[in-house]
Amino acid sequence: MASRAQRMPKSLRIASSLFVLFWFILAAFPFAWTVWGSFKVELDFFSIADWTNAITGERTQAVYGSSFTDTGYAGAWIQEEFWRNVLNTGIVCFFVVTISLTIGTLGGYALSRSTYNYTFWLLITALIFRAMPPITLVAGYLLPFFEWNVWGILPTTIIVLVAINQPFTLWMLHSFFKNIPSELDESAKVDGCNQFQAFRRVIIPVMWPGVITTGLFSFLLAYNDFAVGAMLLSESNRTMVPAIAAFLGTTQTEGNVMFAVAAVVSATVPLFILVMFFQRQIVGGLTAGAVKG
């Protein structure tokens, strides 16, 4: 890739850099705004009187004598014990990603290598499954889950999330495996490996770009899930997003929006550190599997 970048004409390089900058602002501005606002009181955050209040923190100044306050964070983490929800989300994310990738890789690989018609129909069926709106699915789970006494606990939610996410995982990994030439494992089989050995020795080393990308989306799905967690988890096992929703209040009762905002921001921090720390592995992982076609 480096050779290509070096040969880029200057005008194109400037246009490309400008575009990246433009996208950077587009993607990061609302978040940066939120981070800044999370240290303000609600009236400044929503800045209904004047939008500049959100920057200067006029009302925050009036209450706390400083334009910044950490009450949102203190309220969410200490008073409302938000760390419990973060912990639950951590557990859910870890297991959802591991399980979905394990069974999804096997299934996706099989679908990409089998040439019978049924693989096509299985893929289509999986796609149709994905068309099902998740709220209807979850509403259908309630009665049997209560009946079997598995409602409200983390493992149930993990399995449901894995299942709901399988069609997507299968399709994505199938597309990536299609990009890995089948000559690779065919030749391994000629060398006397069975299908699984060929998969393990030849495919696993080169599949990481696809798996990491798919894993990223499985992670985001579990991390951002609201519909499943809100309806299938009891209050004590609640994950992050339903907890944040609870901070927002309802029609007849007051919530605390700043708790929610602080919670969202602080929940993003570990992700940021994770990405920064593993930057090389992630970018490397995305590149390592590059297969010369």
């Binding site: 890739m1 290509r4 040969r7 490309s16 575009f19 990246v20 996208w23 950077f24 587009l26 993607a27 609302p30 705004w33 939120t34 955050f45 209904i48 939008w51 299934g107 099989a110 089998s114 040439t115 019978y116 693989t119 096509f120 299985l122 796609l127 149709i128 499954f129 994905r130 068309a131 099902m132 709106p133 709220i135 209807t136 894995v162 299942a163 709901i164 399988q166 995982t169 597309s175 990536f176 990009n179 299908q195 770009p209 990308t213 990223l216 989306f217 985001l220 951002n224 609201f226 927002l248 929006v257 929610a260 969202v264 993003t268 992700l271 992630i282 995305l286 590059a290 297969v291 076609g293």
Partner: protein
């Protein structure tokens, strides 16, 4: 691959989908053709703490319980729910067809039926957001791919932010930003030069806002998939193209895009489907007055004081059928590729 080997590879994922998606779908289809029994209503004296007693209507539980015990599935209504006013509105459509004298009048009257109005928004949303997401995602992927490697990781993280910030809060923040006194709203007011300019009061502008949000939220997905795909780009083909004197645009068109084509198909499939199910921005932007979708109907049916399971089930089945119709061109293409690949 032999059938038996395939079976073992596919079994875990197949089982998970069978149990948690296929079986529920069967029950949803059943629920959509069975409605609750006729309620036996009786009048009783009803006492509440604040006003004393009044005569009110309630359900005669004993009589109703007997009906339920006889036919636990409910009352068979066939396709009745699919054809009622809340869904395909067959009777109303027929009546409109005979009473209106021009196609224009017919279409505008049709806009009064919730299902067709929701379809108008949903299809516009799908048609606008899907291609824009793919194009934007591809451009971002190409641009970031040409960055210095130290910047790449950082940019990947920031590019993911629209997806990472939970839509619940993400749309709330954007909702306030586009308020006529919010930061973006103020900018728009200044641009429009009209102090009464309000994005949230206008149906057209609300549609635009929803679609911009849709692209913004989904672009990272397309970007990451394409970015990963770019890493497996065959270098020798590019070099060959460069030696042949291909311009950069030609290289993208004849080498990069064809290489990414399976991924484009994949992103298109997922995006068509997700955009057809558009829901979160409608709730997040409080846009129910201006735009509805099939998914927001389901949400209303399940979230009301009285849950309408049959209606929600029928809408879900219509969603699945709608997605199948929408995806059929892409699927036919996939089928050909599949046949060709063998």
């Amino acid at each position: 691959m032999r059938h038996k080997t395939f079976l073992w590879f596919f079994l875990p994922t197949g089982l998970a989908m069978l149990l948690f998606i296929a079986l529920p779908i069967v029950s949803v289809v059943t629920q959509s053709i069975f409605a609750p029994h006729q309620a036996v209503l009786i009048e009783v004296e009803n006492c509440t703490p604040l006003v004393g007693c009044t005569t009110e209507t309630t359900i005669d539980q004993e009589a109703t319980a007997q009906l339920r015990a006889e036919k636990p599935l409910g009352r068979f209504v066939g396709l009745g729910i699919y054809f009622d006013r809340g869904h395909l509105a067959v009777t109303e459509m027929k009546e409109l067809w005979t009473t209106t004298d021009s196609i224009g009048a017919f279409l505008s009257e049709m806009g009064n039926l919730p299902f067709y109005r929701a379809m108008a928004f949903t299809l516009t949303f799908v048609a606008v957001v899907t291609p824009l997401t793919i194009v934007l995602g591809l451009i971002i992927a190409l641009a970031i791919n040409s960055l210095h490697r130290h910047l790449k990781g950082l940019m990947i993280f920031f590019s993911l932010l629209p997806m990472i910030v939970t839509p619940l809060i993400g749309s709330l923040i954007l909702f306030w930003m586009v308020d006529s006194r919010g930061v973006i709203g103020s900018a728009l007011v200044a641009l429009a030069g009209d102090p009464d300019f309000s994005l949230k009061a206008s149906t057209g502008l609300m549609w635009v806002a929803l679609m911009v949000y849709g692209v913004w939220h989904a672009a990272p997905f397309a970007f990451v998939v394409f970015y990963a795909g770019l890493q497996t780009l065959p270098g020798d083909q590019l070099e060959a193209a460069q030696i042949d004197g291909a311009t950069r645009w030609q290289q993208v068109k004849y080498v990069v895009v064809p290489h990414l084509m399976p991924l484009v198909t994949f992103v298109a499939l997922i995006q068509l489907m997700d955009n057809f199910k558009v829901f979160e921005p409608i709730v997040g932007f409080n846009a129910a007055a201006h735009a509805q979708s099939l998914s927001s109907f389901i949400y209303n049916d399940l979230g009301g004081e009285t849950r309408q399971l049959s209606s929600a089930s029928a809408t879900s089945v219509i969603t699945i059928i709608g997605v199948a119709i929408l995806l059929s061109p892409v699927l036919v293409r996939t089928w050909r590729d599949f046949k060709g690949a063998r």
